[in-house]
């Protein structure tokens, strides 16, 4: 059993389950859109929002929706103890982590496809002026957030107060990722686009991703055993 094959099987399974139930997609999307709408009503005055507000709202919505998606994804694995079954198969255990992480990133990516244009529209932010840079920033930020979140959600799957503990643990640790994401997105929507600034924050996001994914791969097996 190769690592890549195990990852692919788990991702395919997660996406098949989601396509059948549409539970996570609908709840995260509904929650994220509601969040953006509420902020838009309070922060956009006479058709204008303060500079950078759109970027902050986008990342806040991603953060909240991500927390919801992480909780639900692992709740599914808890209900029939299937996470235990995954830990019993002879596939490398980091493959279980990578499979779950990839599934969550894909689900959040689908939410972001709706979220980004919505924020651009409601906050009059030029988010789509540099689509490739924006895609890179959103993707790396999402991976960083989900990398930590997947590890914590898996760790907490048998904890009674997991719904409370997940955001309490997750948000403080992922604050650097969110700040880098906000700053990079703000740089993207400025009228005078400064590529060097975006590159700087993007490099920081990539560094966070490498550190978080490496640490999670290293710690997943010991924290999930016993």
């Amino acid at each position: 059993m190769t690592m890549l094959r195990a990852v692919w099987l788990i991702v395919r399974k997660d996406l098949t389950v989601e396509v059948r139930s549409r539970e996570i997609a609908y709840t995260t999307l509904f929650f994220a859109v509601s969040c953006v709408l509420v902020f838009a009503f309070s922060l956009v005055q006479e058709g204008r929002a303060a500079d950078g507000v759109g970027a902050g709202v986008l990342w806040m919505a991603i953060m909240f929706a991500g927390n919801l998606a992480l909780g639900r994804t692992f709740e599914r694995e808890r209900q029939s103890e299937t996470l235990r079954a995954l830990m019993l198969v002879p596939a490398p255990r980091p493959a279980v982590y990578l499979g779950k992480l990839t599934g969550i990133v894909v689900l959040l990516g689908a939410t972001e496809v709706v979220l980004v244009p919505l924020v651009a529209l409601l906050f009059h932010a030029e988010m789509l002026a540099h689509p490739f840079w924006l895609a890179a920033v959103v993707a790396t930020g999402t991976i960083g957030f989900a990398a930590v979140g997947t590890l914590f959600a898996a760790m907490l799957v048998r904890a009674r107060s997991r719904d409370v503990l997940l955001p309490v643990l997750l948000y403080p640790i992922t604050v650097p990722v969110i700040i880098a994401g906000v700053r990079a997105t703000m740089a993207l929507v400025q009228p005078d686009f400064d590529e060097a600034v975006v590159r700087f924050w993007l490099a920081l996001l990539i560094a966070f991703d490498v550190v978080f994914v490496t640490l999670a791969l290293w710690t997943f097996e010991p924290v999930m055993t016993d």
Binding site: R76, A85, L88, P90
Partner: protein, 234 residues
Amino acid sequence: MISVDFDEVSVEDVSRHFGRRRAVSHITFQAHRGTILGLLGPNGAGKSTLLALLATMLRPSSGTIRYGRFDTSAGAGLRSRIGVLGHDLFLYPELTARENLAFFAGLYGIADADGRARAALDVAGLASRGDDPVSSFSRGMRQRVALERALIHHPRVALLDEPFTGLDDASAGALVGRLSGLREGGTIVILATHDLDLAEGLLDRAIFLRDGRVAETVPQPEGLRSTYRSVIGR
């Protein structure tokens, strides 16, 4: 992944504590290839904890568990030889029975996962319901799929926690036949059950557990119910 095979499972003076609570205490036994070992006892006797220890899902607080010349450090190689039917069924309700079986067959590295899933559905007597989601199945049907999921990779040791749960008479009879077939095929079967009537005549050895300790070990047990009453005292 190292190749692992073994003829016996040895449990040597194994204890497992959860905080101050002692779930199993100083348990010793061996289970040999081609035999069915029954773990019998009231609720809370430590049967499920013992199965979880054997499945490598838990680590002993003290003592050792050996699988032939291997121990749990054999990792993935060892896990590929263990099949577990838990009290929870380890099935995804949104997926069909076929998808569940093929998914786990794939994770166990079986090349023709779809073919193996098809064969498993035939054995479970659910070939005609293979494309229905597991959520639409009765408890007994789920139990049959879960058993085949646990055995999909032809494990050397099958650890079955209450395998008769939810089965009607015909299905329970079929399961007894299936377990006998596993014994003849050289599998080490270790099952925890409360269903003494169904276990009667099936077990090669019965270990009666009480309060996490071995109360009695009976080879070739007969009259399980009366032995249970005299050993457990309830």
